[in-house]
């Protein structure tokens, strides 16, 4: 398969869609018709002023230069790029749901009911006792969870200074622990790619506030010793945090709460198929066990009158707020609709097909996969090839490449997560793209990609000479 992305040429020259500013700007004298005195206003405002047809063409052309799930395979490891069911957009577009967050509870019973229902299903799926929907992304969920853990320890007169994180964890875990004011203790991976119990014993102690763990981990391995891990952390007085990035592998087959996790976040834009939107918005609800529930952000939603109504309430020892209002509401609606569509059988089947697809794809590619048995994702190694170059070459074959050069425990890693949405023939195409790129010449890899809207972009130059706006380009 060869794929050509949108490209424009004029008289043999490669031309790119102009910036809106290059299509024409207008300067408005703000003070001319202002109801405000001059000392409160700016003099003028200069911005593009395209007509609506020009606007429509501009953004349509931009969209043609953008790979997406609906374009083809998008197996970014740890990102869970599932198909985003279209009907969920329509559910979320209901104008009745688009109310202001400061509405009284009495006048917002519909939204409160949906919030309550989603809290409940997420708690069931995670095996948790209480859920907040407020965190607006996975990393925000991590920060919420760690702040809840911190408040819990402090409430018990038990200040702790460290968070333990496996070396293979997502970068957000480390950054989150630091943002919450903790020192990070990095746990080296065991030889089998999992947590090494002896190393864990050595790493945890009186200062351990929490262990942040992804399970299956970032090369797709289930932490088989999870019960022992939980015991070690709990015996030291620490809490066990579950990073929900890889929850898709467990749906219907394992619940973090049953494994001893005390607090977790859910990535609804991964596991529950809400659109990734070019980088966001996502949502990162947090679930906790009963003991931690009093520390969750405020407000939460509960039933009143035996289920006849709903109200907001402030948890007794709440950490306060992690978002100005109620989080990414429109995203949460889509997650609810997705879970309702799948039900028990669909959720379990999603995990089964995600794991089946990863294993089938790994079987079909010529690259080695050093760690297993893996679940929904695997880290292949490009060996003596440069993983980033192999990935660039894959772009020419009508697929998005996997996550590259991470996690570091696999040299030249290509972390691949096809999700459940690819069928056999699509996976065969994906495997072919892997194999063709992997076997290609050094020169071809270095020159790739060739059939994309832009050829290889100078990253070093972009960082060395930052031009972050059309104003900066104009100054050149």
């Amino acid at each position: 398969m060869i794929h050509d992305q949108a490209n424009y040429e004029r008289e043999g020259e490669h031309v790119r869609e102009p910036l809106l500013s290059e299509k024409g700007q207008e300067t408005v004298d703000v003070r001319e018709d202002s109801p405000l005195p001059d000392d409160l206003t700016r003099e003028e405002l200069t911005l593009p002023n395209p007509s609506e047809p020009e606007t429509a063409r501009h953004y349509t052309r931009l969209s043609q230069m953008n790979w997406a799930i609906d374009s083809g395979p998008y197996p970014l490891g740890s990102c869970t790029m599932k198909y985003n069911p279209k009907f969920t957009e329509d559910v979320a577009a209901d104008p009745n749901a688009a109310i202001h967050p400061d509405r009284s509870a009495r006048s917002a019973q519909g939204n409160l009911e949906l919030q309550y229902r989603l809290q409940e299903v997420l708690a069931d799926i995670g095996g948790m006792d209480a859920v907040t929907l407020q965190p607006p992304a996975g990393a925000a969920g991590e920060l919420t969870g760690i702040l809840v853990a911190k408040a819990y320890h402090e409430h018990h007169g038990n200040d702790r200074s460290e968070v333990v994180i496996p070396a293979s964890a997502h970068g957000t875990n480390f950054a989150t622990a630091a943002t919450a004011g903790y020192d990070v203790v990095e746990l080296p991976s065991g030889e089998d790619g999992r947590v090494d119990l002896e190393a864990l014993e050595a790493a945890v102690g009186d200062e351990t506030a929490a262990l942040m763990l992804t399970n299956p981990n970032t090369v797709g391995l289930f932490e088989r010793d999870i019960t022992e891990i939980a015991d070690i952390v709990h015996d030291a007085g620490g809490l066990l945090y579950y990073d929900g990035a890889n929850l898709n592998a467990l749906l219907g087959r394992g619940r973090p709460g049953d494994m001893g996790f005390d607090v977790m976040h859910y990535n609804v834009h991964k596991t529950f198929a809400t659109p990734h939107g070019g980088g966001g918005p996502g949502a990162g609800p947090v679930g906790v066990v009963d003991e931690l529930a009093p520390f969750l952000p405020s407000p939460r939603v509960r039933e009143t009158n035996g289920g006849k109504g709903y109200e907001r309430f402030e948890p007794e020892h709440t950490i306060g707020k992690v978002h100005g209002f109620t989080g990414n509401w429109l995203v949460l609606i889509k997650a609810y609709a997705y879970v309702a569509r799948l039900g028990d059988e669909g959720l379990a089947d999603a995990a089964a097909k995600a794991v089946l697809n990863a294993n089938y794809l790994a079987e079909r590619i010529d690259l080695d996969v050093p760690f297993g048995p893996f679940h929904h994702e695997f880290a292949a190694t490009a060996g003596d090839r440069d993983a980033a170059d192999v990935a660039k070459r894959m772009l020419d074959f009508g697929v998005h490449p996997p996550t590259t050069k991470w996690p570091e425990m696999v040299p030249e890693a290509m972390l691949t997560e096809p999700t459940e949405i690819e069928g056999q023939s699509s996976l065969d195409d994906l495997a072919a793209a892997f194999n063709l790129a992997y076997a290609d010449t050094d020169e071809a890899l270095d020159a790739a990609p060739n059939r994309t809207a832009a050829s290889r972009i100078d990253q070093v130059g972009a960082a060395r000479n930052p031009r972050l706006s059309w104003q900066a380009l104009g100054e050149e």
Partner: protein, 458 residues
Amino acid sequence: MSRANGTPYAPHTDEETEAMLAAIGVADEESLFDIPDPVAFDGDFGIDGRTEREIRDECARIFARNDDLTEFLGRGHYGHYVPSVVDHLADRAEFLTSYTQYQPEVSQGFLQALFEYQSMLVELTGLDVANCSMYDAATALGEAATLADRVRSASGDVVLVPEQLREGKRAVLENYCDGADLRVETYPMADGTADVDALADRAGDDVVMVYAESPTVRGCIEARLAAVGEIADETDALFTLGSDVVALSVLESPAEVGADVVVGESGALGLPTAYGMGLGIFACRDDFLRQVPGRLVGASEERAPPEAARDGGGDAADAGGTRAYTLTLQTREQHIRKERATSNICTNQAWVALRAAIHAATLGPDGLVDLANDCVREAAALADRIDDLSGAAAPVHDRHHFREFAVRVDQPAEAIAAELEAEGFAVHAIGEHLLQVCVTDLNAGKTDALVEALEGVL
């Protein structure tokens, strides 16, 4: 061809599943799971899968339980009319179903849209750098505080914020400050805006950041921002200004009043009233470029490829030097810098930024300025009319207002708000005898009815 019951979003027929299992060399899907029995789960969540139609009906029924009120609500979350073109363009699947632009060569479209969004904010703030989104105004303010902590070498640990600040925004700020060992303190306000003299008295070496808002949470336009900026500057504190994308179209340019950082809401464009879902602005001076939280899109060039290696030769070989866009300065970010990153943010609000950019493009500078001017005129006109009612005085503060203003009422505010709700209107009760009313293009046509209802309940 048949498919077992399961997710409707996996294409596998039973035959395909069998063939794939055979290729892997296992008997069934269960064999692929390596989950020990003691922690395995039987799959019974008790969730019944429903059809699309059932779920649409169910959710429509649920949302219909929200009362149909005409909202005069603001205080940080604003609804303006969003033109249809915004939905239709932003909903293109190439945008909506893509992710962060880790492979810029196939993501030029979104990158350019975000670059344009950043550029619009550079124009609106007058600052050199704007990132491509934070979650919302509150989290952006939290990030500004941690930036102040990093860039101010002074031994201070105090973040000064106005006494009148949305409670939720302050609560979020406190959580970001907690980890950086910063403390949040307030400075007094005089008639709805910063009490500059009191602020000057309070300022000192222990302050790392001074925050002011214009418009304030009560809709007052700050008249003395430059003085606030000078106070911050004299004590080497960071001056962070909070605003929103519509107000910035007409109010004093933040750069002109000495702002080091601008935070606030861009969601006033592009998003309907969305139960608080937002789009955080983060812009700052060039000096802090390498301390900026979140993603930055930069312009670069296509690298001139080695000619000999082109598989087709020809046109593409001429590509070197053409402008292209990429995420840049990523060594600030968590996936590279880990615990030394400038922020833990990964997933952001990129699609909302796209929507705001399309909305701004559709309005053009004329339309934006008109929209903003209407926010001033409509608020003043409505305040006048409420002031004419007996039992109410508005605006409470003798300031220019943007969209919203406080109203003093003789009777208890909560009771009046409840009575108005029964009449079909939502307003804020913000104090024992204080209401707050917000008017935008969405409810401007309903002000007669509001005034009439208010007259009836006063």
